[in-house]
């Protein structure tokens, strides 16, 4: 298909990235603004969410230890986007103007950490290979809790039997369309092509964590993985 618009890889959603500088704010800014709230919620997510803790641990084991100040950035973003992973700078962007609840922060952190984890453990060509992009989006929608029954109901998407898969598919398509200039049909085709292997890739959770309890069990299994594989 002809692309008459120049591809900008979704960077227009994150205007602070375009400036090409990573600015530091004043003390007042750091204490009384969305930025401060974002930092506090991020810290809490990293310390208490079993989803985030497992991913951080898995990334450390893969050689990509995550430093909050280096690999996370709270910024103002356009529209309703909640976050993103910038492979060019190895940073997770959190949209401080769009994330206002801890539960939302936990979910966005998990979602973006899944992208970062894929970036760390695999040769993902984010900018040129749509199949790779689609695969990571499928995984992130699947494993982060984005498509939980309650989240879907809050979006007025009512469905029960196998609805999780429909949600994952449509959110992956939506994410691709937000950051790449291709048409919906193409995006749907690519997602359908890679859906099966990517939906079934639950690394590093070993299961689809539908609840905090699932995530805690997954974290427990991850901590005991040496014993597990040694005795198979």
């Amino acid at each position: 298909m002809d692309q008459t618009k120049e591809e900008d890889f979704g960077y227009d959603l994150f205007p602070e990235r375009r400036k090409g500088k990573y600015k530091k704010g004043s003390i007042a800014e750091s204490l009384f603004t969305f930025n401060h709230k974002c930092q506090v919620m991020l810290q809490f997510a990293m310390e208490t969410s079993p989803y985030a803790k497992l991913l951080l641990s898995a990334m450390k084991s893969s050689g990509c230890k995550v430093w909050k100040d280096r690999h996370f950035s709270c910024e103002d973003c356009d529209g309703t986007v909640s976050g993103g992973f910038d492979a060019a700078s190895s940073q997770i962007v959190l949209c401080q103007n769009n994330i206002h609840q801890q539960s939302h922060m936990n979910r966005v952190v998990t979602h973006e950490l899944i992208h970062a984890f894929d970036h760390c453990r695999a040769d993902v060509d984010w900018f040129n290979n749509f199949r790779h992009l689609a695969c990571s989006e499928i995984r992130a929608a699947n494993l982060s809790g984005d498509c939980s029954f309650s989240n879907e109901v809050s979006r007025f998407n009512f469905g029960l039997k196998q609805h999780h898969q429909e949600c994952v598919r449509s959110r992956a398509i939506r994410s691709i369309l937000a950051v790449r200039k291709i048409n919906r049909e193409e995006a749907e085709k690519i997602v359908d092509e890679v859906f099966e292997p990517c939906f079934n890739d639950h690394t590093p959770f070993g299961r689809i964590p539908h609840s905090k309890k699932d995530a805690k069990f997954a974290y427990r299994d991850y901590e005991n993985r040496d014993r597990y594989y040694a005795n198979l």
């Binding site: 292997p197 070993g206 014993r227």
Partner: protein
């Protein structure tokens, strides 16, 4: 596999973990989530058998219990790896992961 270290083998999971997985599997919320994801009800019986084999091995150190448990866990691993990945796994992490941020990053992608 070398069997000379027979006495150092132990079940892949702590026995209580099999029981907690079984209870969790059978819970209403897990059955709901399974139906919501796969359109079917989960089968949980294997966790219960694994728990009994685990306890059996702890008591009597029999090879049958050990082998049943190993077979069950290997099946689980096989189930998780049934797909062909879309990408190639790396040998080493990306080189620029740990590099400091550039203060004046050029505007390209």
């Amino acid at each position: 596999m070398d069997q000379s270290n027979k006495t150092t083998w132990r079940p892949p999971r702590v026995c209580d973990n099999y029981w907690s997985e079984f209870k969790h599997c059978k819970s209403l919320s897990n059955r709901f989530h399974h139906y919501y994801t796969y359109g079917t009800t989960p089968s949980c019986q294997q966790w219960k058998e694994d728990y009994y084999n685990c306890r059996e091995w702890e008591k009597h150190k029999g090879t049958e219990a050990k082998e049943e448990l190993q077979k069950s866990e290997r099946n689980r691993v096989a189930e998780q790896s049934k797909f062909t990945p879309v990408w190639k796994l790396r040998q080493d992490p990306p080189r620029d992961w740990h590099l400091p941020l550039n203060q004046d990053k050029p505007q390209d992608s």
